[in-house]
């Protein structure tokens, strides 16, 4: 496997900073354009101040095979409201007018990127102020498709490791990963059952024997209490479906945004208290 230079940037700086502060980073996921562009932009712009250390911005796709109902419905709402890749990139550009520090990772599936053309997508994402990519349906076997070109373009490619990633596969999974490693806490789709903190801690320790890359843990983490447990040992804690539900819970879109930011503050405080 080819080695590439690891892009240094906002992600590396942010995880170095939270490590220095002795706490886990809060990684928040929202779906771009859910429930509409303006509301989603308002949420995005508020996340950093509310305590999100890293923002995962979901690129909507018609067939989100690895996502549970919450994110399925959110990305459907976004598509129905007219969200496109151009508008997702525009959201990042607008965020960067007020926030130059918070790393943004685009998360989604390969086909919308492939349809646009990989070089064009990478140029546009870099120019918009994107820091990294998480593409669920590109395992290391397909690194030549997007991972290696992304690294060359100066974007981090954040890989998922799972409970099924055994010792044979782990080196390949880690090889071209940069920014952080996303440890999927349980087999399944997003928004599923809460993981056992004890087992996840063992898994994180196992991966640390191979690499010092920051490890963020996600899937099934919904509450401050759960975040506190995982945040006691992981470098980052990812919350997605719970924030999506918060966005959908408001009587108005603006109230949904307030609910997302309130939950974000609570989660951020939990991570400070965790250690």
């Amino acid at each position: 496997m080819t080695t590439t230079t690891t892009p240094e940037g906002r992600l590396a700086r942010r995880f170095a900073e939270t490590r220095r502060q002795g706490r886990a980073a809060l990684v928040t996921y929202i779906a771009a354009g859910d429930p509409d562009y303006d509301t989603s932009l308002a949420t995005l712009k508020g996340l950093g101040e509310a305590g999100a250390d890293v923002i995962e911005l979901g690129m909507p796709f018609t067939d989100p095979m690895a996502d549970g109902p919450a994110i399925q419905h959110a990305t459907r709402r976004a598509l129905d409201a007219g969200q496109t890749m151009d508008r997702t990139l525009e959201m990042v550009r607008q965020l960067r007018q007020t926030d130059q520090q918070t790393p943004v990772v685009l998360m989604g599936y390969y086909n919308p990127i492939y349809a646009r053309g990989v070089p064009r997508f990478l140029d546009q994402a870099k120019a918009a102020g994107v820091d990294g990519l998480i593409v669920v349906d590109l395992p290391p076997e397909h690194d030549d498709e997007l991972c290696l070109p992304a690294n060359q373009a100066g974007l981090n490619f954040v890989r998922l490791a799972t409970p099924t990633t055994d010792a044979r596969r782990l080196p390949g999974v880690l090889a071209n990963t940069s920014g952080f490693l996303y440890y999927v806490s349980s087999n399944g789709v997003t928004g599923g059952a809460a993981p056992s903190a004890e087992r996840v801690q063992q898994e994180v320790a196992r991966i640390r024997e191979h690499s010092d890359i920051p490890i963020a843990v996600g899937f099934g983490i919904r509450t401050a209490a759960q975040a506190r447990q995982i945040g006691a040992f992981a470098d980052g804690v990812v919350v997605g479906s719970a924030l999506i539900d918060a966005q959908a819970s408001g009587e108005s879109p603006a109230e949904g945004t307030q609910a997302v930011l309130a939950l974000t503050r609570e989660l951020a405080q939990a991570l400070i208290d965790a250690r």
């Binding site: 796709f61 018609t62 599936y109 390969y110 492939y114 349809a115 397909h142 099924t164 399944g188």
Partner: protein
């Protein structure tokens, strides 16, 4: 169609990474990768194991009823006044379609791998029925994902699956058709990866599925080679099969890929017409993309969002196509055409009336192409059509569409 110069065999695909030319691959979440690698290894071992082949052959003969007849359709040939038309009678096999060939092969693999829980997606319900059947035969738990639209239009198959002990889970996402059922099956698989074997029903999905399903279906083409040679003393001039994902076509075509004199014709579903958005013809109306674990031709918009397919036949109602077909299309070894809902219904009626055979609406698409093509061909042209399934399951749709013109369901008057 371009003639192949004496080149290396076309039957050796895919490459070790699962590609047929640009198409195929393993575009799946990390959770599934180790399992897919295990499956590949287990399949390689099974292929080299004579006891696996023996058991499959024995069950194919005594449980499925193979080999299926190659039937000379005399009255259809006479009516169309051109090519000599043979029907490969997969409709006569146990469960009423070719799907059983693959379901049987895969459940033997599941047993080798120690899996006790089977899941599958289904469109028309024939793959679901075949899977529920072999799961019952081997005493395994079985869950079938089926779009809610398809559950409505293929009701008899839902009842058959339930009778066989399978749980049928309706999928309401999207248009509630085959694509959505496959998404949901993949979500189940990723959640129950340790216990569960996913029996994919067509020559699509992540490697090694396209190759494995093709190999289990290739019994169709191997039998045709032998049967037509016995009856006519030579290979056929053309093979015609319908294509949704493309498993019955791939099974028929594959043993003939290295015989350039045999024309291969795949028939996609043109729905309400290729000039409308309501069709399921991924090769005629789509472009390259990545979905459900493989790169292939897909119906999609400029943004790479997948379009909902449409066909009167639930089994062809899928926005993608197996990657080996995409490759055969790209290298022009096979020709791909399309038939509309209306043309399929007319072919459906014609076969009922001329041969006393009620074909599946899927297979009726292949027959629609035969109706267009056969009259223009000489009487010594040998054409083999894959009659991939029987049409009992389609009575509701047929009645809805044909009741008025054929007077179905009305008491007939004495002349």
């Amino acid at each position: 169609m371009s003639q192949q110069s004496p080149t290396p065999s076309l039957r050796h695909g895919p490459d070790p990474r699962g590609f047929f030319g640009d198409f195929g691959g393993r575009f799946v979440a990390e959770t599934l990768m180790p399992l897919i690698l295990d499956l590949e290894q287990e399949y390689d071992a099974a292929r080299k194991d004579p006891t696996f082949a023996d058991e499959l052959a024995s069950l194919s003969a005594d449980y499925v009823g193979r080999q299926s007849p190659l039937y000379f359709a005399e009255r259809l040939t006479e009516h169309l006044g051109g090519a000599r038309i043979y029907l490969k009678r997969e409709d006569l096999m146990h469960t009423g379609a070719h799907k059983i060939n693959n379901a049987l092969g895969q459940i033997l693999l599941a047993r080798r791998m120690g899996k006790r829980r089977i899941i599958a997606e289904t469109g028309a319900g024939m793959h679901g029925v075949a899977t529920a059947t072999v799961a019952a035969r081997f005493g395994m738990d079985c869950v079938i994902y089926m779009g809610s639209t398809d559950i409505h239009r293929q009701q008899p198959n839902v009842q058959r699956m339930q009778l066989l002990g399978a749980k049928v889970i309706p999928v309401t996402a999207g248009d509630g058709t085959l694509k959505d059922a496959m998404n949901e099956a993949l979500r189940d698989w990723v959640t129950n990866v340790d216990s569960t074997f996913y029996i994919i029903g067509t020559v699509a999905g992540p490697h090694p599925y396209p190759a494995l399903v093709r190999d289990f279906q290739s019994v169709i083409g191997r039998e045709v080679r032998q049967q037509i040679t016995a009856k006519e003393g030579r290979l056929p001039d053309s093979l015609v099969a319908c294509i949704g994902g493309g498993s019955n076509a791939m099974g028929l075509f594959h043993p003939f890929l290295d015989d350039p004199e045999v024309a291969l014709v795949g028939v996609e579903a043109a729905g309400e017409g290729l000039d409308t958005p309501r069709h399921a013809a991924s090769l005629k109306g789509g472009r390259s993309g990545v979905l459900h674990g493989n790169r292939t031709f897909l119906l999609q918009d400029d943004e790479g969002q997948i379009s909902d397919a449409h066909s009167i036949s639930a089994g062809l109602d899928y926005p993608g196509i197996g990657p080996e077909h995409a490759w055969l299309h790209a290298i022009e070894r096979a020709e791909y055409v399309a038939a509309t809902d209306r043309e399929a219904l007319d072919a459906f009626t014609l076969l009922c009336r001329k041969e006393g055979i009620i074909p599946a609406l899927e297979s009726s698409h292949a027959l629609a192409e035969v109706i267009k093509r056969a009259p223009r061909l000489p009487a010594d042209h040998l054409m083999v059509v894959n009659l991939s399934g029987r049409g009992d399951k389609d009575m509701a749709t047929a009645t809805e569409c044909l009741a008025d013109e054929l007077g179905l369901g009305e008491p007939d008057q004495q002349d």
